[in-house]
Symmetry: C2
Subunit: 454 residues, 2 copies
Amino acid sequence: MWNDLPSTTRTGASFSIFKKLLKTLLFREPQKKNIFLHVNDGSSLQSLQVVGGAELSDPLLTFGSAVEVTGTLRKSPHPQQPVELGADQIHVVGECNSVDFPFKIKERHSLEYIRQLPHLRCRTNVFSSLLRVRSEATTAVHSYFKSNGFLQIHTPTITSNDCEGAGELFQVEPSGPDFEEEVNFFSVPAFLTVSGQLHLEVMSGSFSRVYTFGPTFRAENSQSRRHLAEFFMVEAEISFTQSLEDLTKVMEGMFRSTTEHVLAHCADDVGLFHKHVTPGHRVSPEGQKCPPYSKEMITYSEAIDILNRSSENFTFPTDWGCDLKTEHEKYLVKHCGDVPVFITDYPYDLKPFYARDNQDQPKHTAAAVDLLVPGVGELCGGSLREERLSLLKARLEDVGLEEIYSWYLDLRRFGSVPHGGFGMGFERYLQCILGVNNIKDVIPFPRFSHSCLL
Amino acid sequence: MWNDLPSTTRTGASFSIFKKLLKTLLFREPQKKNIFLHVNDGSSLQSLQVVGGAELSDPLLTFGSAVEVTGTLRKSPHPQQPVELGADQIHVVGECNSVDFPFKIKERHSLEYIRQLPHLRCRTNVFSSLLRVRSEATTAVHSYFKSNGFLQIHTPTITSNDCEGAGELFQVEPSGPDFEEEVNFFSVPAFLTVSGQLHLEVMSGSFSRVYTFGPTFRAENSQSRRHLAEFFMVEAEISFTQSLEDLTKVMEGMFRSTTEHVLAHCADDVGLFHKHVTPGHRVSPEGQKCPPYSKEMITYSEAIDILNRSSENFTFPTDWGCDLKTEHEKYLVKHCGDVPVFITDYPYDLKPFYARDNQDQPKHTAAAVDLLVPGVGELCGGSLREERLSLLKARLEDVGLEEIYSWYLDLRRFGSVPHGGFGMGFERYLQCILGVNNIKDVIPFPRFSHSCLL
């Protein structure tokens, strides 16, 4: 949307000889003796202004070129920038043909347009801002877990499990002539992980709190603005808990701490999105529009009552036992006052084998919890895990998975502890705080059905 | 190797009522009135001793069971532990049948044995130590890059590139009935990444310093102690450099800073490996055996001279132009005094298309650098990248890749900058500092040919 190169290096307050290679954006003032460049090294949204005499003018100093500038950092006469660089020498180290360069000076390109150019879009202001926010949010997530006693586990990408028992898996096999004759490289069918949960549960047998943060995969044949074939997930598992509230506290703590960090470290970058991409979108410790500083917690059964009392015409049924669809989630968030909503205790039959049986009736539920947020819908999903061997075994037998998951039953045989965990889609988190509508615009290289550029 | 459960929770110095669910290791002293448990929550190698009266004795208090203990934390009479827990109540929350439990009390199980039990091996001392070291090393790597101005980029796992132009790729396709008819989910063949380098180079067009840290893949049909099908790689890319020394400084800084952090935060865990797994192995700021605090830097041509002057009988040829094999690397490290060795300026024809041409003759080299370390061999590999459009284009034409990599040429067309980068195998780093011989023992869930457990 902004064809300006990401502009200005942060320079601090020292006034000294300054030599650095920088990207440049040139403004030549006609009829005047000075030339002005806006240069940027990617460290912030703001640009450093370089001022040079007319003798430094060079036809190669085009928009998008890379330059080396030698000069003196000095106080700027402009109130909006603390310093500027008075250039003694300017050297173009990387030319850029403005006619061929797909971003144009002073023009706002749409997110859709720059998405077609994954190898160049980081050179727009908006996408370099996104990448700084993403990097800081990643740092903040790690830092939250670290400071709360969680051990980081590198759960595997390739797995022989199918965590959800659902389809939508990518299978992995070697390509190339050496392997054509082999049936399975790993001797068993191997897939890309849909969740690190079961591997984290392994670690719950030894550590009180563990987490993982990495890529997960769904072979979903969808071009929707909400789905990717490869996306990042933060997952945590907490031992010694029998309470969904313990899980919601960690979800909330992670959200709050990460958002505070991002707002503190990337104010300009977040501001760019809120000003130009989603005008009116706000995220702040006081803001009610997004982060769960104020929140609601309702049961699934209460949610169904709310939906059935409403005057909305839903496309999908709202009988007890039906899954909540996007339209329902949206309504519930709105009904609760556009705040994050935790929904707990889902129908037992809707949840996977590992969800803990609440053993209630006649409406049989499992101890599961989802976090819905405005604009995005489901951000987190979690549950207590069935730690009771007999119940877990019976359920796995029911679905015919007892043999495949005998290792998982072992975890309950040998010093089992009550535990639970959750996962958060990292891209959805970024959509939530930035107000970005399409998930493809918050990941460096989006992969989805019919698209794997680069 | 150690069947003791990872033992003791860190307790601090406060003496107060203490209630926590913990894993237990029971010692009952026959004929005495007290029972003793060693309990652990995974936070450190050391165990917390729980002392209880004989009336708390319970046949379910077996090795490997999980317990909840209520009592008073008090000064311990033993000099090796600052505190012990005087138990008022002990409740077994998770039983463990010692006969079936594959780890036995007071027995040292081999790394090979515990490797067969990936769902339980985190419950041995040695593997819980490994996981703590791995988590701290991960934190330290992120922290090094963060504090040196690097932006973290989530490079993709699924890619349509083949970075090295070599084989050994895993291909990705959806499994299941919905997709049987489709040729390619992504419309193009898609692979698991062998390196995030080219994606990082994209980012070098906008940011001065970027890095990535995630899983990478090789479909290598090898059961060797040095190879995995899925392993973690740290990769960095630095803009505005024309010097290999800039790269070696970052490699060295990362190694030093990570190792210092691990030694400061996991002294007991590292000590366990150096005492019991590889007796005599040392890593310390003064130690010469591993970290590059003292180092050598030689060119490939000098390395060839050294090899040819030696009296060793090498299996593989040592003519100028031949690739260095493990036997050569080992000799070179030994020759240089068992210190890390940087080898620079490899034959041009040995390096991939992106390596920067040194334009020398008659021995034509590229600006590439490898870091060899004692015990492990190649730990890092890097190069300056060919930023000159005409040279890069000519080379891609030579190998017939010009069309596929037209996007990569675009990076040189529009404001190219001199840059370079490197990758470090994270598991090899862990092997190096811990002295672990087999790479399968430093990753939570090893994947290699014919094995994908869990």
